[in-house]
Symmetry: C2
Subunit: 166 residues, 2 copies
Protein backbone atom coordinates (compact mmCIF):
# COMPACT_ATOMS: atom_id res chain seq x y z
CA UNK A 1 0.00 0.00 0.00
CA UNK A 2 1.33 3.39 -1.01
CA UNK A 3 1.07 6.23 1.52
CA UNK A 4 0.51 9.63 -0.05
CA UNK A 5 0.55 12.94 1.77
CA UNK A 6 -1.49 15.55 -0.08
CA UNK A 7 -1.53 19.19 1.02
CA UNK A 8 -1.96 22.71 -0.24
CA UNK A 9 0.28 25.35 1.26
CA UNK A 10 1.40 28.93 0.88
CA UNK A 11 4.77 29.66 -0.68
CA UNK A 12 6.23 29.77 2.85
CA UNK A 13 4.77 26.50 4.10
CA UNK A 14 1.53 27.33 5.88
CA UNK A 15 -1.45 25.01 5.36
CA UNK A 16 -3.96 27.38 6.98
CA UNK A 17 -4.23 30.70 8.71
CA UNK A 18 -4.12 30.77 12.50
CA UNK A 19 -7.94 30.54 12.63
CA UNK A 20 -7.95 27.54 10.25
CA UNK A 21 -8.97 29.46 7.12
CA UNK A 22 -7.70 27.96 3.84
CA UNK A 23 -8.30 30.45 1.03
CA UNK A 24 -7.10 28.12 -1.73
CA UNK A 25 -8.00 28.16 -5.40
CA UNK A 26 -10.97 26.29 -6.87
CA UNK A 27 -8.55 24.21 -8.91
CA UNK A 28 -6.66 23.10 -5.83
CA UNK A 29 -9.87 21.88 -4.24
CA UNK A 30 -10.87 20.07 -7.45
CA UNK A 31 -7.51 18.35 -7.60
CA UNK A 32 -7.68 17.27 -3.97
CA UNK A 33 -11.23 16.06 -4.42
CA UNK A 34 -10.21 13.97 -7.44
CA UNK A 35 -7.37 12.42 -5.46
CA UNK A 36 -9.68 11.52 -2.56
CA UNK A 37 -12.25 9.99 -4.90
CA UNK A 38 -9.54 7.84 -6.42
CA UNK A 39 -8.07 6.70 -3.07
CA UNK A 40 -11.55 6.35 -1.46
CA UNK A 41 -10.08 7.06 1.99
CA UNK A 42 -8.68 9.93 3.99
CA UNK A 43 -6.45 9.89 7.05
CA UNK A 44 -6.61 13.14 9.01
CA UNK A 45 -6.15 14.51 12.51
CA UNK A 46 -8.95 15.55 14.83
CA UNK A 47 -8.83 19.29 14.14
CA UNK A 48 -8.82 18.77 10.38
CA UNK A 49 -11.76 16.38 10.77
CA UNK A 50 -13.71 18.92 12.78
CA UNK A 51 -12.98 21.72 10.30
CA UNK A 52 -14.06 19.56 7.35
CA UNK A 53 -17.20 18.46 9.20
CA UNK A 54 -18.10 22.07 9.99
CA UNK A 55 -17.71 23.01 6.34
CA UNK A 56 -19.75 19.99 5.25
CA UNK A 57 -16.97 18.77 2.98
CA UNK A 58 -17.24 14.99 3.17
CA UNK A 59 -19.98 14.50 0.59
CA UNK A 60 -18.18 16.85 -1.81
CA UNK A 61 -15.17 14.53 -1.85
CA UNK A 62 -17.29 11.41 -2.38
CA UNK A 63 -17.72 10.34 1.27
CA UNK A 64 -14.41 8.51 1.57
CA UNK A 65 -13.61 6.05 4.36
CA UNK A 66 -12.41 8.43 7.06
CA UNK A 67 -9.76 7.41 9.55
CA UNK A 68 -9.21 9.99 12.26
CA UNK A 69 -6.01 9.85 14.25
CA UNK A 70 -7.01 11.16 17.65
CA UNK A 71 -6.19 10.50 21.27
CA UNK A 72 -9.85 10.87 22.17
CA UNK A 73 -12.88 9.11 20.70
CA UNK A 74 -15.08 11.25 18.48
CA UNK A 75 -18.28 9.36 19.12
CA UNK A 76 -20.13 6.53 17.37
CA UNK A 77 -19.90 6.28 13.59
CA UNK A 78 -16.45 7.89 13.45
CA UNK A 79 -13.43 5.66 12.98
CA UNK A 80 -10.73 6.89 15.32
CA UNK A 81 -7.33 5.31 15.81
CA UNK A 82 -4.58 6.18 18.24
CA UNK A 83 -1.59 6.39 15.90
CA UNK A 84 -0.47 6.77 12.28
CA UNK A 85 0.66 3.14 12.18
CA UNK A 86 -2.74 1.96 13.38
CA UNK A 87 -4.43 4.02 10.65
CA UNK A 88 -2.30 2.34 7.99
CA UNK A 89 -2.86 -1.14 9.45
CA UNK A 90 -6.60 -0.56 9.23
CA UNK A 91 -6.50 0.62 5.59
CA UNK A 92 -4.20 -2.24 4.65
CA UNK A 93 -6.58 -4.75 6.19
CA UNK A 94 -9.40 -3.21 4.16
CA UNK A 95 -7.26 -3.71 1.01
CA UNK A 96 -6.89 -0.05 0.02
CA UNK A 97 -4.09 0.42 -2.47
CA UNK A 98 -3.38 3.99 -1.40
CA UNK A 99 -3.61 5.66 1.98
CA UNK A 100 -4.27 9.38 1.59
CA UNK A 101 -2.97 11.49 4.45
CA UNK A 102 -4.08 15.13 4.49
CA UNK A 103 -3.20 17.05 7.61
CA UNK A 104 -3.00 18.89 9.80
CA UNK A 105 0.58 19.80 10.55
CA UNK A 106 0.86 17.67 13.66
CA UNK A 107 -0.39 14.55 11.88
CA UNK A 108 1.89 15.23 8.90
CA UNK A 109 4.89 15.50 11.20
CA UNK A 110 4.02 12.23 12.93
CA UNK A 111 3.72 10.35 9.65
CA UNK A 112 6.95 11.78 8.28
CA UNK A 113 8.89 11.30 11.48
CA UNK A 114 7.90 7.62 11.56
CA UNK A 115 9.00 7.28 7.92
CA UNK A 116 5.54 6.19 6.83
CA UNK A 117 5.12 8.54 3.84
CA UNK A 118 6.03 7.32 0.34
CA UNK A 119 5.03 10.32 -1.75
CA UNK A 120 4.07 13.95 -1.23
CA UNK A 121 1.84 16.08 -3.44
CA UNK A 122 2.13 19.74 -2.56
CA UNK A 123 -0.01 22.37 -4.22
CA UNK A 124 1.70 25.73 -3.77
CA UNK A 125 -0.77 28.57 -3.64
CA UNK A 126 0.36 32.10 -4.61
CA UNK A 127 0.10 33.41 -1.07
CA UNK A 128 2.32 34.27 1.86
CA UNK A 129 0.99 34.20 5.41
CA UNK A 130 2.97 35.75 8.26
CA UNK A 131 1.49 33.29 10.74
CA UNK A 132 -0.56 30.13 10.61
CA UNK A 133 -0.58 26.36 10.80
CA UNK A 134 2.55 24.85 9.36
CA UNK A 135 2.80 22.04 6.81
CA UNK A 136 4.79 20.06 9.37
CA UNK A 137 4.47 21.11 12.98
CA UNK A 138 7.81 21.81 14.63
CA UNK A 139 9.50 18.53 15.45
CA UNK A 140 12.83 16.72 15.28
CA UNK A 141 12.55 15.51 11.75
CA UNK A 142 14.54 15.73 8.60
CA UNK A 143 13.68 14.26 5.23
CA UNK A 144 15.24 14.09 1.80
CA UNK A 145 12.98 14.01 -1.22
CA UNK A 146 13.21 13.18 -4.89
CA UNK A 147 11.27 15.38 -7.28
CA UNK A 148 8.99 13.16 -9.38
CA UNK A 149 7.33 15.96 -11.28
CA UNK A 150 5.79 19.40 -11.37
CA UNK A 151 2.40 20.34 -12.77
CA UNK A 152 0.60 23.60 -13.29
CA UNK A 153 -2.88 23.14 -11.82
CA UNK A 154 -4.03 26.69 -12.40
CA UNK A 155 -2.55 29.96 -13.61
CA UNK A 156 -0.92 30.62 -10.24
CA UNK A 157 -0.81 27.25 -8.52
CA UNK A 158 1.97 24.72 -9.01
CA UNK A 159 1.84 21.14 -7.86
CA UNK A 160 5.10 19.57 -6.73
CA UNK A 161 5.24 15.77 -6.54
CA UNK A 162 7.96 14.12 -4.48
CA UNK A 163 9.05 10.67 -3.37
CA UNK A 164 10.33 10.54 0.20
CA UNK A 165 13.76 8.91 0.34
CA UNK A 166 14.01 6.37 3.15
CA UNK B 1 14.44 50.19 -9.49
CA UNK B 2 13.13 46.66 -9.18
CA UNK B 3 13.35 44.95 -5.79
CA UNK B 4 13.92 41.21 -6.01
CA UNK B 5 13.87 38.79 -3.09
CA UNK B 6 15.91 35.69 -3.86
CA UNK B 7 15.93 32.72 -1.47
CA UNK B 8 16.37 28.97 -1.38
CA UNK B 9 14.12 27.06 0.98
CA UNK B 10 12.99 23.60 1.93
CA UNK B 11 9.63 22.33 0.73
CA UNK B 12 8.16 23.52 4.04
CA UNK B 13 9.61 27.03 4.02
CA UNK B 14 12.85 26.91 6.00
CA UNK B 15 15.84 28.88 4.68
CA UNK B 16 18.33 27.28 7.07
CA UNK B 17 18.58 24.82 9.91
CA UNK B 18 18.45 26.14 13.46
CA UNK B 19 22.26 26.42 13.51
CA UNK B 20 22.29 28.32 10.20
CA UNK B 21 23.33 25.39 8.00
CA UNK B 22 22.09 25.59 4.39
CA UNK B 23 22.71 22.25 2.69
CA UNK B 24 21.52 23.40 -0.74
CA UNK B 25 22.44 22.01 -4.13
CA UNK B 26 25.43 23.20 -6.16
CA UNK B 27 23.02 24.39 -8.85
CA UNK B 28 21.11 26.56 -6.41
CA UNK B 29 24.33 28.27 -5.35
CA UNK B 30 25.35 28.79 -8.98
CA UNK B 31 21.98 30.33 -9.78
CA UNK B 32 22.13 32.66 -6.80
CA UNK B 33 25.70 33.64 -7.63
CA UNK B 34 24.67 34.46 -11.21
CA UNK B 35 21.84 36.63 -9.97
CA UNK B 36 24.13 38.55 -7.58
CA UNK B 37 26.72 39.09 -10.31
CA UNK B 38 24.03 40.56 -12.52
CA UNK B 39 22.55 42.85 -9.84
CA UNK B 40 26.01 43.74 -8.42
CA UNK B 41 24.51 44.36 -4.99
CA UNK B 42 23.10 42.42 -2.08
CA UNK B 43 20.85 43.58 0.75
CA UNK B 44 20.99 41.28 3.75
CA UNK B 45 20.51 41.27 7.50
CA UNK B 46 23.28 41.18 10.09
CA UNK B 47 23.17 37.44 10.80
CA UNK B 48 23.19 36.55 7.11
CA UNK B 49 26.12 38.91 6.63
CA UNK B 50 28.06 37.29 9.44
CA UNK B 51 27.34 33.79 8.14
CA UNK B 52 28.44 34.72 4.61
CA UNK B 53 31.57 36.40 5.95
CA UNK B 54 32.46 33.34 8.02
CA UNK B 55 32.08 31.13 4.96
CA UNK B 56 34.14 33.55 2.84
CA UNK B 57 31.38 33.84 0.27
CA UNK B 58 31.65 37.43 -0.93
CA UNK B 59 34.42 36.95 -3.50
CA UNK B 60 32.62 33.87 -4.88
CA UNK B 61 29.63 36.02 -5.78
CA UNK B 62 31.73 38.73 -7.40
CA UNK B 63 32.16 41.06 -4.40
CA UNK B 64 28.84 42.87 -4.82
CA UNK B 65 28.04 46.17 -3.12
CA UNK B 66 26.80 44.95 0.26
CA UNK B 67 24.15 46.81 2.19
CA UNK B 68 23.57 45.40 5.64
CA UNK B 69 20.36 46.24 7.43
CA UNK B 70 21.34 46.29 11.07
CA UNK B 71 20.51 48.23 14.19
CA UNK B 72 24.15 48.21 15.19
CA UNK B 73 27.19 49.30 13.18
CA UNK B 74 29.41 46.50 11.92
CA UNK B 75 32.62 48.49 11.85
CA UNK B 76 34.46 50.48 9.18
CA UNK B 77 34.24 49.35 5.58
CA UNK B 78 30.81 47.78 6.03
CA UNK B 79 27.80 49.69 4.75
CA UNK B 80 25.08 49.41 7.36
CA UNK B 81 21.67 51.06 7.21
CA UNK B 82 18.91 51.15 9.77
CA UNK B 83 15.94 50.08 7.66
CA UNK B 84 14.83 48.39 4.43
CA UNK B 85 13.72 51.74 2.99
CA UNK B 86 17.11 53.27 3.70
CA UNK B 87 18.82 50.37 1.92
CA UNK B 88 16.71 50.95 -1.17
CA UNK B 89 17.26 54.71 -1.10
CA UNK B 90 21.00 54.11 -1.08
CA UNK B 91 20.92 51.68 -4.01
CA UNK B 92 18.63 53.98 -5.96
CA UNK B 93 21.00 56.88 -5.43
CA UNK B 94 23.83 54.70 -6.75
CA UNK B 95 21.72 54.01 -9.86
CA UNK B 96 21.36 50.25 -9.44
CA UNK B 97 18.55 48.88 -11.60
CA UNK B 98 17.84 45.96 -9.31
CA UNK B 99 18.04 45.64 -5.55
CA UNK B 100 18.70 42.06 -4.54
CA UNK B 101 17.38 41.12 -1.11
CA UNK B 102 18.49 37.77 0.26
CA UNK B 103 17.58 37.12 3.87
CA UNK B 104 17.37 36.22 6.60
CA UNK B 105 13.78 35.64 7.58
CA UNK B 106 13.49 38.76 9.68
CA UNK B 107 14.74 41.02 6.90
CA UNK B 108 12.49 39.28 4.36
CA UNK B 109 9.47 39.88 6.58
CA UNK B 110 10.33 43.56 7.00
CA UNK B 111 10.66 44.10 3.27
CA UNK B 112 7.43 42.26 2.49
CA UNK B 113 5.46 43.88 5.27
CA UNK B 114 6.46 47.33 4.01
CA UNK B 115 5.40 46.30 0.49
CA UNK B 116 8.87 46.92 -0.91
CA UNK B 117 9.29 43.65 -2.82
CA UNK B 118 8.40 43.49 -6.52
CA UNK B 119 9.42 39.93 -7.37
CA UNK B 120 10.37 36.76 -5.55
CA UNK B 121 12.61 33.96 -6.80
CA UNK B 122 12.31 30.88 -4.64
CA UNK B 123 14.46 27.82 -5.21
CA UNK B 124 12.73 24.88 -3.58
CA UNK B 125 15.21 22.29 -2.39
CA UNK B 126 14.07 18.64 -1.99
CA UNK B 127 14.32 18.72 1.77
CA UNK B 128 12.07 18.98 4.80
CA UNK B 129 13.37 20.35 8.09
CA UNK B 130 11.38 19.95 11.28
CA UNK B 131 12.85 23.16 12.72
CA UNK B 132 14.90 26.05 11.44
CA UNK B 133 14.92 29.63 10.23
CA UNK B 134 11.80 30.50 8.31
CA UNK B 135 11.58 32.18 4.91
CA UNK B 136 9.57 34.96 6.55
CA UNK B 137 9.87 35.30 10.30
CA UNK B 138 6.52 35.25 12.07
CA UNK B 139 4.82 38.60 11.63
CA UNK B 140 1.49 40.23 10.79
CA UNK B 141 1.80 40.05 7.05
CA UNK B 142 -0.17 38.70 4.20
CA UNK B 143 0.72 38.82 0.52
CA UNK B 144 -0.83 37.72 -2.74
CA UNK B 145 1.44 36.69 -5.57
CA UNK B 146 1.24 36.11 -9.29
CA UNK B 147 3.20 33.19 -10.70
CA UNK B 148 5.50 34.49 -13.43
CA UNK B 149 7.18 31.19 -14.18
CA UNK B 150 8.72 27.94 -12.98
CA UNK B 151 12.10 26.55 -13.92
CA UNK B 152 13.91 23.34 -13.20
CA UNK B 153 17.36 24.32 -11.97
CA UNK B 154 18.53 20.80 -11.19
CA UNK B 155 17.04 17.32 -11.13
CA UNK B 156 15.40 17.94 -7.78
CA UNK B 157 15.28 21.71 -7.41
CA UNK B 158 12.50 23.88 -8.81
CA UNK B 159 12.63 27.62 -9.05
CA UNK B 160 9.37 29.50 -8.61
CA UNK B 161 9.23 33.09 -9.81
CA UNK B 162 6.49 35.39 -8.53
CA UNK B 163 5.40 39.00 -8.76
CA UNK B 164 4.10 40.45 -5.51
CA UNK B 165 0.66 42.01 -6.00
CA UNK B 166 0.40 45.38 -4.32
Amino acid sequence: MKVILYMAATVNGYIAREDGETPWSKEEWQNFSKMVKSARNLVIGRKTYEAMKENDEFSKIGNPFMVIVSSKSLGPGVTTVGSPKEALRMLKKEKYETALVAGGGKLNSSFLKEKLVDEIYLDIEPLIFGKGIRLFSEDDLDAKLELLGTKSISQNTVQLHYAVLK
